[in-house]
């Protein structure tokens, strides 16, 4: 009798392509499933972009929730949702949400500028995924602190980079 832990369960079920979506945070899956190539370590452009936005500040895991499909059949358009725990008051709100890709040719995918008038810290958008990879959502708060969530998506058909 075999008891699967959560990670093995995810690998088994995504291999069988029966898990279309899921909330994931900081997964460390070794991408031992088929997809648009095995997951590689974060790219140099990603690390540069991350360091540039951090500017020496610490980026802490938490407060941010990133809802990304666990399995993306088509990397040309993958819809995700980001929300951040914040009262969104003048004294304490999310200023910017940065969306970074670990494997796309250009690491910065989008930036969203919010304010207390947003009412809630929530955005949704559709992005391109050039390969199986982690996507990182980093929230910059009004007090200057940085918080992040990370989610992995296994890409079956990579985004076509031939002009769009």
């Amino acid at each position: 009798m075999t008891i699967l832990d959560r990670r093995q369960f995810l690998i088994v079920t995504t291999s069988a392509a029966v898990l279309p979506a899921g909330k994931a945070k900081a997964t460390d899956s070794d991408a031992s499933v088929s997809g648009a190539g095995a997951k590689k370590p974060p790219s140099a452009p990603y690390l540069e972009a991350r360091n540039a936005l951090a500017g020496g500040r610490t980026i802490t895991l938490g407060r941010v929730s990133l809802d990304l499909p666990r399995l993306a059949e088509n990397g040309n358009s993958v819809t995700l949702k980001i929300s951040v725990e914040s009262p969104m008051t003048a004294a304490d709100h999310v200023k910017t949400i940065h969306l970074l890709s670990e494997q796309n040719p250009i690491a910065t995918v989008a930036r969203f500028h919010l304010s207390p008038r947003s009412g809630r810290a929530f955005v949704s958008t559709s992005i391109r995924l050039a390969a199986t990879q982690n996507i990182n959502a980093i929230a910059e708060m009004s007090d200057g602190t940085l918080w992040e969530a990370q989610a992995e998506s296994i890409v079956l058909l990579a985004a076509c980079t031939d002009g769009g």
């Binding site: 040719p105 969203f112 559709s126 769009g164």
Partner: protein, 105 residues
């Protein structure tokens, strides 16, 4: 002017947080190929700015990693009746502007 689609309530109560969805038709040409050679220069919508009653409430900066026909959803708190103006700008400087009126009771 490019075709666009906006979903926003027509009415809201003061203080209510409403969700707004906005999509515009655009190929979002990345400007690079798998081989790294430039065939077609980059042409993307790089900014969506949204004002409500004259003040900016939301801004998105897009890069080539955003899918074609860029879509975004966000929220705002209803304050007073007024126009919500959406302005998309692409690399060629072409602007698409759409206005919706929100009535607040």
């Amino acid at each position: 002017m490019r075709p666009s689609r906006i979903v926003i309530p027509e009415t809201a109560k003061a203080g209510e947080v409403i969700e707004i969805k906005a999509l515009i038709q655009h190929p979002m040409v990345t400007g690079h190929t798998a081989a790294g050679a430039n065939t077609e220069p980059r042409d993307i919508i790089h900014t969506l700015a949204v004002t409500y009653d004259g003040a900016e409430i939301f801004r998105a900066d897009f890069f080539p990693g955003v899918a074609a026909n860029p879509y975004v959803a966000f929220t705002t708190r209803a304050t007073v009746s007024g126009d919500v103006v959406f302005t998309w700008t692409d690399d060629k400087g072409e602007e698409t502007r759409q206005t919706r009126t929100l009535r607040v009771s």
